[in-house]
Point group: C2
Chain length 245, copies 2
DNA sequence: TAGTGGTCTAGACCACTTA
DNA sequence: AAGTGGTCTAGACCACTAT
């Protein structure tokens, strides 16, 4: 038994307490994405429990996609890759028929007072303002989808000062690099609505044509909301698949 | 080590061979949905392996949703309940605001020669015909969605003879009871299209209004396709949520 | 060859359900 | 009280990766 007091409930099974301890290390940046965590042998020594218990704790984190085992090499902190995002079900093939990441253009960037909807999504205090980004994503200069993005100014204020050219195609590594904010997971909601005039213009479709709307709230490891994003794409390019049982 | 030869590859880990053995028992109906499987102690004896190995094999089937543990009671074969179906994301509340299962009406039933699309989805032989059902699902006599259903006539021919009044709201238990065909899992695909005239009439919406289309291929335990279904509902009543990480 | 995670065993004790 | 799955331990050996 380790001498340190566990932060989580002592009445929980040992392996769940261990899980919470390990999760805290990832959240604190003590175990960094892409790097190996201590070996199972080391963990048994530092926590003073049997290897089977360590393995069970690690199993739960692997199942949740936070850790990745690799036989002979070690166990690594996994960088969330969002391959399961609904956004990937928009047709994203170029003229050669290959799937690829669309290019990004930031069309607007502002410091705003949030609407009630945004304030609620990001769980903001009354006076807190937000960084707003408007962005389109294109493939072969054809718009695939358009995005409205809101971020708490308290954590992401630096984004207002940076050169727009520095914003890459992938925002989450950029957030991590520039603002030290790591996205750990997200919740997405899909709905369908008719295109309003601005969305129709951006996407190059007829007004009132159906648009798939994906709302995303991206969370940190401690599950506080870091980003609220609404993405819109032409519905006829959307095809989502799921396995059920 | 059991004297019986395993059907699966001997080079696989023991727990995976056990998993395959257990899956075969479920598929064969030897272990029936809703009933307990033998206790872990009995399994260790009949297979001649350690209890930890049994537990690991059971774990994989629990993770896949085929078995369900219940401490103190036993481990049970789970009847797939399709709670994760995309269909549940259509607004299904009655006038009291409670969520409930819509009522079903069979509008048509025919023996048909399948179209190429249906033949492919059900992986049918060239001459095999299909049972076709057209069905609407209503809540407070308001249509929620309409369904076209195709089934291989070789397995589901009996459905042509039964009284339409015998068809309940839930088809899968009905298939099992009347035709001995058990649905184990399914694949669903979501897309959006404008309502054609017949769908618009059935759903009570304007022509060309967006419709969410859910295609489902339902599979048996041995993963052969048993049912092909296309469900359509008004897009403005659809709201899908997913967690990603 | 050394070190990692993966598999498998054997057994103790606990928590929960049923009768 | 008896029987079930749940937790935890301790240790052996295997398969894979790096050097």
């Amino acid at each position: 038994m380790p001498s340190s007091s566990f932060s989580s409930d002592q009445r929980l099974p040992l392996y769940q307490q261990l899980r919470d301890e390990m999760l805290a290390k990832i959240a604190a940046g003590e175990w960094r994405p892409g790097e190996p965590i201590p070996t199972e042998q080391e963990l048994t020594k530092s926590y003073g429990v049997a290897i089977g218990t360590i393995r069970k704790a690690v199993d739960t984190l692997v199942a949740d996609g936070l850790l990745q085992r690799s036989q002979g090499r070690g166990t690594f902190v996994r960088r969330p890759d969002f391959t399961s995002s609904l956004l990937r079900f928009f047709r994203q093939v170029n003229s050669q028929g290959e799937k690829q990441i669309p290019d990004s253009q930031i069309l607007a960037r502002q410091l705003l007072t949030p609407t009630e909807q945004v304030r609620k999504a990001l769980q903001l205090e009354a006076e807190e303002s937000v960084v707003y980004l408007q962005r389109t994503r294109t493939l072969d200069s054809r718009a695939v989808f358009s995005e409205d993005i809101w971020l708490p100014a308290s954590r992401f204020g630096k984004l207002l000062e940076l050169d727009l050219a520095a914003f890459g195609n992938l925002l989450y590594p950029f957030y991590e690099q520039e603002c030290g904010q790591m996205i750990a997971s997200a919740q997405e909601t899909l709905s369908v609505e008719p295109a309003n005039s601005s969305a129709a213009a951006l996407l190059g479709i007829a007004g009132n044509a159906p648009v798939v709307v994906i709302e995303r709230i991206a969370l940190s490891y401690d599950r506080s909301p870091l980003e609220y994003r609404i993405s819109r794409g032409a519905a006829d390019t959307f095809h989502y698949q799921v396995e059920i049982s």
